[in-house]
């Protein structure tokens, strides 16, 4: 249930697994798309699938959608320029676009041609043009819609900063004809922009229809949406249910999605444990926004193996150590804390080995740059060597840090702010014990997850020393989306700051600035892998988990996992007996 303002890892309602990478997905590229025993190429048409969810969508408006559960629905109701087939999670396929993006002008111009014959659902009914894509991206930049990522990936488009206050359109987005859209960039970052065109903000929105809704603050377009994908949302009762039925204007000739199902019903507000039992024992159901709780994972792993699928969500979890607060401004003290921490115990608080691998650095498995950063073993740093913790080593680092007894002897209490709900609260409590082993005195506050982020860890002036419940998920398969928001010193902001350790190392910052412009895939992976090594060596946090999500399905469902989104792909999932 990844549903918070940040694409930071959120706690899960009483479940043991990482739930939700927002646009997140699989670990490695080109994995089998048949996870969940579904078959990508075969499926029977018809039937109704029920998607069981604990919560609601964070947003249904494609201009706002930013989380895994949102994407599960968006990817079958909307058609962004590019989209993710079940098997692919490195390069998206053209969806509304007619072909791959054309990069020119030394990486400063991206041109995309769009398909003919794609129509909006009723009541608009007309053919989609490039101006609809232009409007969709521009509206996402307005405060009435308030998208969480367009500023990051479209911020380099010429004229972006002047819109909407000074200009009516973003100067760098033009539509020479109805089938072409051109993005002009101030810096050669076309590769990143091209990947971002797979996110739902590039799904077309008809301006003549949507403007009246977008004029309201906040926009009410979500209650009046039109669709271009194989399904349209015919019913949406927040927190209760959403019904998707076939879009009468969808032409399968323009699409690669098979869309086997006749109807998809999202049922929200379920208890995760009860819903999991219903799915495993029932008919035609799959899990939605939650990973199966630990007891269910245990049960399914032994007796219903083919109904459970573990999918890397390309996310990490770590304990952030504020590098600006004494004594954590001392690198040896930070290394001591990392060395002392029993990361196996931290992982147990979320359910043990099935929830993921113990992290040794920050880029998750499968993402370009992971191997370059040291792979599963990491880069050999002694303070990360023992996942069960090494107190003797920790004490030696404390001595180097100016504490001859090997323990913290200062009088200062460190402010630690963690979750007040499980499983995050347990993680925080275990971390408290780890810190006490080294003599640290804590002012430990436990608050709701949103509060932890938006009032404490995201606000540098709150002077939080330790944030035990933070983590990050990719936006797409690029290490920049993992490392830049979280460790770039130039990105530290007074509100919504996601560089929780407030690491501001000139060498790291410079390396990131350089790496952002690298376009060659191998060189890019190497550059970001090196950055990961640099960051890990600076000990700004205790990395402890690379998440996996346990998706479950009924036996009668041919479930197909979308590796990118780490959840069921509803366009490919079908029923065995519809």
């Amino acid at each position: 249930m990844q549903r918070h303002a940040l694409r930071a890892l959120a706690p899960v309602v009483a479940v043991g697994l990482a739930v939700g990478a927002a646009a997140c997905g699989g670990g490695s590229s080109n994995k089998s798309g048949t996870s969940g025993n579904g078959n990508v190429t075969q499926g029977k048409k018809g039937g109704t699938l029920q998607v069981q969810a604990a919560g609601d969508f964070e947003h249904v408006d494609p201009g706002q959608a930013y989380y895994q559960f949102d994407y599960m629905m968006e990817f079958v109701t909307q058609r962004p320029l590019y989209n993710w087939k079940p098997n692919t999670n490195t390069v998206p396929d053209p969806d509304l676009a007619a072909g791959p993006p054309q990069v020119s002008n030394g990486g400063k111009t991206v041109t995309v041609k769009i398909k003919k014959g794609v129509k909006f659902s009723p009541p608009v009914n007309r053919e989609v043009t490039s101006k609809d894509v232009q409007y969709a991206i521009e509206r996402a930049a307005t405060p009435n819609v308030a998208n969480g990522y367009v500023g990051v990936y479209f911020g380099d488009v010429v004229g972006w900063k002047d819109f909407p206050k000074k200009t009516k359109h973003v100067a760098g987005i033009t539509t020479p004809d109805n089938q072409t859209i051109v993005f002009k960039l101030a810096r050669p970052v076309a590769g990143t922009l091209a990947q971002a065109l797979s996110l739902p903000a590039s799904a077309p929105v008809p301006p003549e229809y949507a403007k009246k809704y977008d004029a309201k603050n906040p926009s009410t377009y979500a209650q009046h949406m039109v669709f271009t994908g194989p399904y349209e949302m015919t019913t949406y009762q927040p927190g209760k249910k959403a019904v998707l039925k076939r879009n009468p204007n969808w032409d399968p000739k323009t699409d690669w999605r098979p869309a086997y199902l006749d109807q998809i019903i999202f049922s929200m507000g379920n208890d995760a444990t009860v819903a999991s039992r219903q799915i495993l024992g029932g008919q035609n159901q799959v899990s939605g926004d939650f990973g199966a709780p630990a007891p269910i994972v245990k049960q399914a792993s032994t007796s219903k193996k083919d109904q459970i699928t573990f999918t890397p969500s390309s996310g990490n979890r770590y304990v952030a150590l504020n590098t600006t607060i004494k004594p954590l401004d001392n690198i040896n003290v930070r290394k001591a804390i990392i060395a002392a921490t029993d990361r196996t115990a931290l992982r147990l608080t979320r359910g043990g080995p099935s929830v993921g691998d113990i992290a040794t650095h920050y880029i998750p498995p499968g993402m370009p740059g992971f191997e370059e950063a040291g792979g599963m073993a990491g880069s050999g740093l002694d303070f990360l060597k023992n996942p069960n913790g090494d107190l003797a080593l920790a004490q030696s680092y404390m001595k180097k840090g100016g504490f001859p007894s090997g323990k913290y002897t200062g009088s200062q209490k460190l402010l630690m702010v963690g979750d007040n709900a499980e499983p995050g609260s347990k993680t925080a409590q275990v971390m408290q014990q780890q810190l006490q082993k080294l003599g640290f005195k804590l002012n430990f506050r436990q608050v709701p997850h949103d509060t932890m982020y938006s009032k404490f860890c995201n606000v540098p002036k709150s002077k939080v020393a330790i944030c035990p419940n933070v983590g990050w998920l990719k936006d797409f398969e690029d290490a920049q989306t993992m490392m830049d928001p979280t460790f770039n010193g130039t990105a530290i902001v007074p509100v919504n700051n996601s560089n929780w350790p407030q690491l501001n190392d000139p060498k790291v910052n410079a390396a990131m600035k350089k790496a952002e412009l690298v376009t060659d895939a191998n060189a890019r992976a190497k550059a970001w892998g090196e950055i990961d090594k640099m960051v890990t060596a600076l000990a700004p946090a205790v990395p402890w988990l690379w998440d996996k999500q346990a998706n479950i399905r009924s036996a009668a469902v041919n479930g197909v996992i979308n590796q990118f989104n780490a959840s069921w792909d509803l366009a490919y999932t079908s029923l065995k007996n519809p």
């Binding site: 024992g281 509060t451 938006s454």
Partner: protein, 320 residues
């Protein structure tokens, strides 16, 4: 009586005003999530966060925001718009209200019938095996947490995941207007679970009161006058002993109409309680404010009804 009711209604208005003010102060002045930051998402331009703050009026002092909120509430009965889905709070609460009313009314019937019957039987069969069994059951009913009881009942009796597939399980709620038969069957288990602790409490309370009442002089007098035991118990004993139950019943109904959070959560009944819970977990302040106000409204109105009912139940009570 008329003056009394008008005076009480004025107090209701004042009380609701105070509740709204208190809720507003709690959620705006004490640490909670920043709505502008939540809406802005990851790594927003700080200017965008500021724009959102301005557009939602969050940059204004809290009393200005509160004044605007109250103005909209009083003049237009507008409870604002959810930060979560941009839909009117009032609309969402009214959509959820039928489910909560269905759950509450059914549970009230169950627990009043069960609680009163068991209470009377235990009192008149004092110190028998029936009394002891009933009171042991009541103790268990009071002690069992609703959430646990809900899960256990589902694992035992739900038609989908239960060992004995008897009742409709979680997520089976159907509105009465859609299918009355399914509505009824989907609510049997939630009614029983929700009513269990209340019935137990009412049974114990009525038993204790009735035992005390039955030792009063006027009961002895009634018997001496030759009235039948049944009439003595029901007309003279129970009528007096049941008065405290009416007070409790009024309050309990009011509280439950504000949302039976746990029962609604376990059985996935889309009621007001679940709505309030979701709003709290998402720091959706307008929705929190709306659901709290609704809950408070039901509680104070239920109190008023109880006080009026007193005058009819107890001849000694007169409002003037």
């Amino acid at each position: 009586m008329g003056t009394y009711i008008i005076r009480r209604l004025l107090w209701v208005v004042i009380l609701l005003f105070l509740v709204s003010l208190l809720t507003f102060i709690i959620f705006y002045l004490f640490p909670s999530a920043d709505p502008a930051a939540l809406r802005a998402g990851r790594q927003p331009n700080p200017a965008l966060v500021e724009q959102i703050r301005q557009s939602l009026g969050l940059d204004k002092p809290w009393y200005v925001q509160y004044g605007k909120y109250m103005k909209n509430l009083i003049l237009h009965f507008d409870l604002g718009t959810s930060y979560q889905n941009n839909i009117s709070v009032k609309t969402q609460i009214f959509q959820r209200l039928p489910a909560t009313i269905s759950l509450t009314v059914g549970a009230v019937v169950v627990w009043v019938v069960a609680g009163v019957s068991v209470g009377i039987l235990s009192a008149i069969k004092r110190r028998t095996w029936l009394d002891r069994t009933a009171m042991t059951g009541a103790l268990i009913g009071i002690s069992a947490p609703v959430y646990w009881l809900g899960l256990v009942s589902l694992y035992l009796f739900a038609s989908d995941i239960g060992k004995f597939k008897i009742f409709s399980g979680a997520n089976s709620y159907v509105p009465f207007s859609q299918d009355p038969a399914k509505w009824f069957s989907s609510l049997i288990l939630p009614w029983l679970v929700l009513a269990a602790s209340f019935a137990a409490f009412y049974a114990r309370l009525l038993r204790a009161n009735l035992l005390e009442t039955m030792s009063e002089d006027y009961i002895r007098t009634a018997r001496a006058k030759g009235l039948g035991e049944r009439r003595v118990i029901m007309r003279h004993g129970v009528r007096s002993a049941i008065t405290p139950l009416v007070t409790a019943l009024g309050l309990d109904i009011g509280i439950l109409l504000g949302g039976a959070i746990l029962t609604e959560s376990v059985f996935n009944i889309p009621g007001v309680g679940r709505l309030a819970y979701d709003a709290i977990t998402r720091s959706d302040l307008p929705m929190i404010q709306g659901t709290v106000l609704f809950g408070a409204f039901f509680i104070v109105m239920a109190n008023l009804v109880v006080d009026i009912a007193y005058a009819f139940l107890d001849p000694r009570v007169r409002y003037s």
